[in-house]
């Protein structure tokens, strides 16, 4: 797929801003978990209301420490990629995958138990929206406009004004 876009400055700015905010969110979640050694996804997984056997398997004795490590690692990598602007496509794919998992464990489907949450949701919740926002970022990459990837992009495209 060839992705050549010509954004206005304002458009680039908006996309970069979105990328950084989402990266910020992932990174902070990851850092907090790195520094709380007792943190584990076990409770979240065990209380899953959809695809229970899959999530309970993830929470099982033999899996949970791997799952926790992978989760924290992924959060940090995604945060790093999005903020620094490096390998953002990979970070985005990983991020969407992670968010879909979070979404499926406790989906706001009608008739499904809704645990304590700060808002009201029907089918759509913030995990899903964040995943969709990542999809937008995948379609409209900005790492060569703002990010380490600038260094490696041959053409050094300075976002041209239309």
């Amino acid at each position: 797929m060839s992705l050549t876009f010509q954004f206005t400055k304002a458009q680039t700015f908006s996309l970069v801003l979105l990328r950084i905010l989402i990266g910020w969110h992932f990174l902070y979640e990851g850092v907090i978990k790195v520094y709380s050694p007792s943190w584990s996804a076990k409770g979240y997984l065990l209380s899953a209301t959809y695809m229970e056997s899959f999530f309970q398997w993830l929470a099982s004795e033999s899996m949970i420490s791997i799952v926790d490590t992978l989760n924290i690692g992924a959060l940090l990598l995604i945060g790093f990629g999005l903020i620094i602007g490096f390998k953002t496509k990979w970070a985005i794919i990983l991020g969407i995958g992670l968010l879909i998992l979070y979404y499926l464990a406790h989906p706001p489907f009608p008739g499904y138990p809704q645990g304590p949450s700060e808002g009201s949701y029907w089918i759509v919740n913030k995990n899903l929206i964040e995943a969709a926002a990542l999809l937008v970022l995948y379609m409209f990459p900005t790492e060569t406009s703002f990010g380490l990837a600038r260094l490696f992009s041959k053409s050094q495209p300075e976002t041209p004004n239309p």
Partner: protein, 539 residues
């Protein structure tokens, strides 16, 4: 640096910012997270150091080596079957049912747990049950794997058979003390189900027999004494974490027929299969009545309803943590409001126990605080879980298998920390969850009710263990290695007297007083308290 220069050659300052601008941002976010975590941890540690509560398990009981202990069981009913499983003996019916159930639900670990249970080095040599169906069920299952088990027609036959070293008694309440006394007099160790006794007089008689036979080990069946969080609770009390506890609230919340003792009536029950006179014992002589036989908890003649069946667990739970002993006053109220089916024990009952001289400690000026009330609040018509609360001036403890402590917003002890925002009264200052490594698949609301009271299982090293197994094991270790069971005759004496005072107050409608010095429940002139307690005609 040199390579850096080459790499960045030709980049304007603007370009540099656009290339590397994310890096400082990354650093800022990382250090914000790290600082936040470090601060939270520092405050947490400071708080934990200040509280200094030791989370520890009760000491493990000793080795069970040597010749197998020969155990006899009297009363193989609902509880008898559970006790036998804890002893290592399950009926064929149960094994089949569990195999089926774990095949359907892989989370059902009951069979697996049973098979993994430590061998207690016992022989179940004798069984006495006056209902043929139950006795035959036991014989059919327990004469295998090298065990020989014989049926005895009466408890005296079993006790005097010479085939047993110790007995487990799980008959209806009115048979507890008579059987225990006979067994102890015959030199047998006794594991006796709760409530320890059915009458006031029996409570003294049993204690006398125990005092005369100091080498006999009597354990009363309050298995929740093995609950892991209780020792931690004791330590929290000892460290004066709660300040002066003025009120303890403990509750029974049930809303189903099983919870209201409406047990199944066995289709084979008749005078041909049940030794009816042996069931009645000292109870009023009435013609055969299958309902009385299977649902004996509903009549004062054999049981004592909420005060004997359930209050005893709650009282002993608190007595285990606070060691407050027998209350000076008890007032009770209630009635038959949810199950008007011919029973004569109340199904809604409130019992207030007053301990005017008791204190858990204080954080205020000496003399300001003293005295505590324990409220036991029970209904068989609603199962909203109200939990158990120990309410002190400085903090509130929620006591279950898990233990949670919240500071009180008006606490004296924590006033500074609350002001500095180091303690948020909405967030627990201490929480102890012995199951942190595992979440339980609790099967039903009733199971949850029992589990929260430590009656079904507790934890050792993060693993779920059957509390009854631990309780029996402790008793066996005392028999083999010496030491006293955690719920022995003195704890049982306090439990029984408190329960009887509750029943009396309900029946008489008056505040009942305990004369601590003379160890007597105060009666009015001419009043026969046991006659009132046992009176089965009132409704």
């Amino acid at each position: 640096m040199a390579t850096d220069k080459k790499l960045f050659k030709g980049l304007s300052r603007r370009d540099l910012l656009k290339t590397l601008g994310g890096i400082p941002l990354f650093g800022v976010i990382w250090s914000a997270g790290a600082n936040f975590s470090a601060k939270a941890k520092r405050e947490r540690n400071l708080l934990l150091e200040t509280l200094n509560i030791k989370a520890s398990a009760p000491p493990a009981s000793g080795p069970l080596s040597g010749e197998p202990l020969r155990v006899g069981l009297i009363g193989f009913g609902i509880r008898g079957e559970q006790l036998m499983r804890s002893l290592g003996f399950a009926t064929n019916e149960w094994l089949e049912q569990m195999a089926k159930s774990s095949a359907e639900n892989p989370n059902d670990k009951r069979l697996e747990d049973f098979k993994a249970q430590e061998n207690l080095n016992v022989k179940l040599t004798a069984i006495c049950d006056i209902f043929d169906a139950q006795a035959e069920k036991a014989l059919a299952s327990f004469n295998s794997n090298g065990n020989t088990c014989k049926r005895y027609r009466t408890h005296l036959d079993l006790i005097n058979s010479g085939e047993v070293d110790a007995v487990i008694i799980a008959t209806p309440d009115h048979w507890h003390a008579p059987m225990a006394i006979d067994a102890i007099n015959a030199g047998l160790h006794v594991y006796l189900e709760k409530p320890m006794t059915h009458t006031i007089q029996e409570t003294y008689d049993l204690r006398d027999v125990c005092r005369k036979n100091p080498n006999i080990k009597l354990a009363v069946g309050h298995q929740h004494r093995q609950t892991q969080s209780f020792l931690t609770a004791q330590d929290a009390i000892a460290k004066n974490t709660l300040g002066h506890v003025s009120l303890v609230v403990t509750t029974t919340n049930r809303n189903d027929d099983n919870g209201a003792w409406q047990y199944d009536i066995h289709p084979d029950a008749s005078t041909d299969t049940i030794d009816w006179d042996a069931f009645l014992g000292t109870a009023p002589k009435i013609p055969f009545n299958a309902e009385h036989f299977f649902r004996w908890r509903k009549w004062w003649a054999y049981g004592s309803g909420l005060s004997g069946d359930l209050l005893t667990h709650d009282y002993d739970r608190i007595n285990c943590v606070l060691k407050m002993g027998i209350p000076k006053y008890i007032t009770a109220s209630g009635g038959i409001y949810t199950h008007r089916d011919g029973r004569n024990v109340p199904d809604v009952m409130q019992i207030n126990m007053d301990f005017p001289d008791f204190s858990t400690g204080t954080s205020q000026e000496p003399g300001k605080e003293k005295g505590m009330t324990l409220v036991y609040s029970a209904t068989l018509g609603n199962q909203f879980e109200r939990g158990t609360l120990l309410m002190g001036h400085d903090a509130t403890m929620e006591l279950g298998n898990m233990l949670t402590i919240h500071a009180d917003p008006r606490s004296t002890k924590y006033a500074e920390l609350i002001k500095e925002n180091k303690i948020d009264p909405m967030v627990p200052i201490y929480q102890y969850d012995p199951s942190a490594n595992g979440v339980d698949a609790v099967t039903s609301a009733t199971a949850k009710y029992f589990a929260n009271k430590g009656l079904l299982w507790t934890y050792r090293d993060g693993k779920r263990v059957d509390s009854t197994f631990l309780h029996i094991r402790e008793w066996m270790s005392c028999i083999r290695n010496g030491g006293e069971p955690s719920c022995g005759i003195n704890e049982g004496f306090e439990e029984a007297i408190a329960a009887h005072m509750g029943g009396l107050s309900y029946k008489i409608g008056r505040r009942i007083e305990w004369d601590h010095e003379n160890e007597k429940i105060i009666a009015l002139p001419g009043e026969d308290l046991d006659a009132i307690l046992l009176n089965n005609d009132i409704t």
